[in-house]
Symmetry: C2
């Protein structure tokens, strides 16, 4: 990473504490990522992004702001990036994925709280996250009790706008959400001084659609029998999607996809034949929360898909591009966003359908249901998902885990047993098929 | 209690398990309640209600149903009793307050979940709650993540209707809530076959207003210097308000109030002079969760008010009785219900105002902030409440506790220290005032 101390200083960061944070990441990343064999060349860009995690992009934000542009921070896939882009603003995802920030979060939050929320708030309070320091407005939402009430605390530190996501998906709830989108439009227009016209929103929709489409293309390569890329690598890419420049990101993922498609044509894979294919479903994983994927892929499994907010929920479904008026465009946005099956909705049968569909599409052998501790919505939804998967004959295991590494040994043991079971039942099926 | 085995059998209860539950309560109640000295005569009715807790009232429900009447169960002060009464139905609160039901709740819910939700669901699953067995419809709401998702599980056992409570209090949220009230009206009309006319709704509003008003009268007696009744006893009465016959209940509380007002006139109190007066604020306490009040009142304190759902949130604010059309009445109901300052709302500044107001009205010396474990909304809101109370010079202590008695010793020690501190600062103030 270059020398960004002046930049960080200008962002009013705690440089000493930040040094501690920066000291840990390279080795951590090296152990998890650079140790992989036969990685695609196209991952070099993403290695570079991580090596510059608090540098280059932060500088871009600073330059954007110097020219009068605004930066909006968010914590959720429901905040419409299309509108942010349409107002010539930059959106960055701010979810905290590091244990480093937990103690600072616990200064103002209960300990019995999901680590993602504690780390996000702690990142701000510790003054060690340059993205947090670069935002002109935080955009929260009412997706869960923890976040909803955490905004009230964060509001004491940064200007905040909260979007009220409905909890159901009836017609009236769509109207309610459309209204929230109009309010959000007004809010960003005021903040940026830029009007969001039909033309600009159309461009914003197009640009973000392209980003989502390229992620779908990337995910499609994971449907191949020989996986051309590890799940760990794809997780990283999806995480980076939340803060990298959309156009550059789209181009770089497209480049990678060509390489991966070429690998598929040549039958090159990164896992040994017969490795159990795992669909991960559950709560989001923010950088640098690579724990579960790393454990899966070093315990004999391969992650083929994530039905999470740092996975399919982020990019599946595009916004209709036919809308010619703002009304139609906003309706298109509402349709797209309320098509996401987050556990915050009641009922949320759509998520079960998604899991079973993705399991088939990605030819998975088993499902790992991941939940951050104290995440009531996902933890509670496990029961219904498990019932449905049992009925469909799909093996599933629940892993509840925070950001610490204390439980790694125990989880690895459980995963290994699960994968062995998957291999046995796979072998049995093959034998049965040949008999 | 009389012999209700045939009744319980007809309700498809687990009689053996129910016997275990019934075996515990009398001694538990005796220790906590009957041991009190100088109790008002008027408490005899409520002793009787508890002695018949799974008897007389359950029989009344059975008779009501035999005549074609319907029974609705709910778990929240936001479910409008006025409408239930207007449809000639009976509403009963079903919140579980006993440790007994937790293991059955944990069969289908995560352990990291508030005991009230676990006990409520466990009460159904165990087949040991005759009220649960008597309901024709459960009415849930979206007040917290835990309950919202628990309804999806309970729905597998009992017919369920969920009211979507808004999470904010803007004008559009009022309209949304009014719409939910109309939907609820439709739902009960269909269930009961009884139309809710203006006349009937006016009567329902009047009847429930009377119940709330008598509770306000009861609470007013706690503003006196000599407390004529213990906090424990008042908590019991408020808990019983959720399931007793509204008219009988109103009459019995009124009788008690006369006795208490007479006590005040005569200067008769149940605590020794100078006992620190405590305002309890936080999460609800369902029968038989008398733990905190019992600990406070056996550690040198006296509870003078509860800013909880089993306290002021249940009865403060009446529905306007001037409404002549259904539209006006529904608007009046929306106004009344959205006047409740539950921690599920964001922001919820009104609750802080309530706490400070009640602290003054009830001449409290200190505040005990009570939170059930894993209740994100109330646990998170503590920070803002504490800041405001600190600023107002109001002493506050946080007690997080579930239904088990394991932490009783530790909490008592903390409470005793808190009360001592209150007494010292009270004495100091008095000295300062006389100097």
């Amino acid at each position: 990473m270059g020398d960004y101390r002046d930049l960080w200083q200008s962002l009013d960061m705690d440089l000493e504490k930040h040094d501690q944070l920066c000291a840990v990441l390279p080795e951590f990343y090296g152990d998890i990522y650079l140790s992989q064999e036969n990685r695609p060349e196209g991952m070099n860009y993403f290695n570079f992004v991580i090596s510059e995690i608090h540098g280059l992009r932060v500088q871009e934000l600073a330059e954007h702001r110097k020219q009068g542009g605004k930066v909006l921070g968010s914590f959720c896939v429901f905040v419409p990036d299309e509108m942010i882009v349409a107002a010539d603003a930059i959106g960055v995802g701010l979810c905290g994925g590091s244990d480093f920030w937990i103690p600072d979060g616990e200064r103002v939050l209960p300990r019995n709280m999901c680590p993602l929320i504690k780390a996000s708030v702690g990142a701000k309070l510790s003054g060690t996250c340059p993205y947090f320091q670069s935002v002109d407005l935080l955009v929260g939402e009412t997706t869960c009790d923890g976040k909803k009430k955490a905004w009230e605390i964060l509001e004491g530190y940064v200007p905040m706008h909260v979007m009220d996501l409905p909890q159901m998906k009836r017609k009236k709830d769509y109207l309610h959400w459309m209204d929230e989108l109009w309010l959000f439009k007004e809010k960003i227009e005021k903040l940026t001084g830029n009007e969001i016209t039909e033309e600009k929103l159309a461009k914003g929709i197009q640009r973000i659609n392209q980003k989502r489409a390229v992620l779908q293309r990337l995910y499609n390569t994971r449907k191949a029998e020989n996986l051309p890329i590890s799940g760990k690598d794809v997780l990283l890419i999806t995480q980076i999607a939340f803060y990298d420049d959309p156009e550059r990101f789209t181009a770089k993922v497209a480049e990678l996809c060509e390489e991966l498609e070429d690998r598929i044509a040549k039958g090159i894979g990164v896992f040994k034949e017969g490795t159990p294919r795992i669909l991960v479903t559950g709560t989001p994983m923010a950088i640098p929360n690579w724990k579960l994927h790393h454990m899966i892929e070093t315990s004999g499994g391969a992650v083929v898909c994530e039905e999470t907010c740092t996975g399919t929920r982020y990019f599946e479904n595009l916004v209709k591009e036919e809308g010619n008026t703002l009304e139609e465009q906003i309706r298109g946005l509402a349709d797209r966003y309320l098509g996401i099956n987050c556990a915050c909705f009641t009922p949320n049968k759509g998520r079960i359908d998604d899991i079973i569909r993705l399991y088939k599409e990605y030819r998975a052998d088993g499902v790992v249901y991941y939940s951050l501790p104290f995440c009531h919505t996902y933890a509670l939804e496990y029961k219904k998902v498990k019932e449905a998967l049992d009925q469909a004959g799909i093996p599933v295991i629940m892993v509840e885990s925070d950001y610490s590494l204390q439980d790694a040994g125990q989880i690895k043991t459980r995963l290994e047993a699960f994968f062995e079971m998957l291999e046995i039942s796979k072998a049995k099926k093959e034998v049965a098929a040949t008999e």
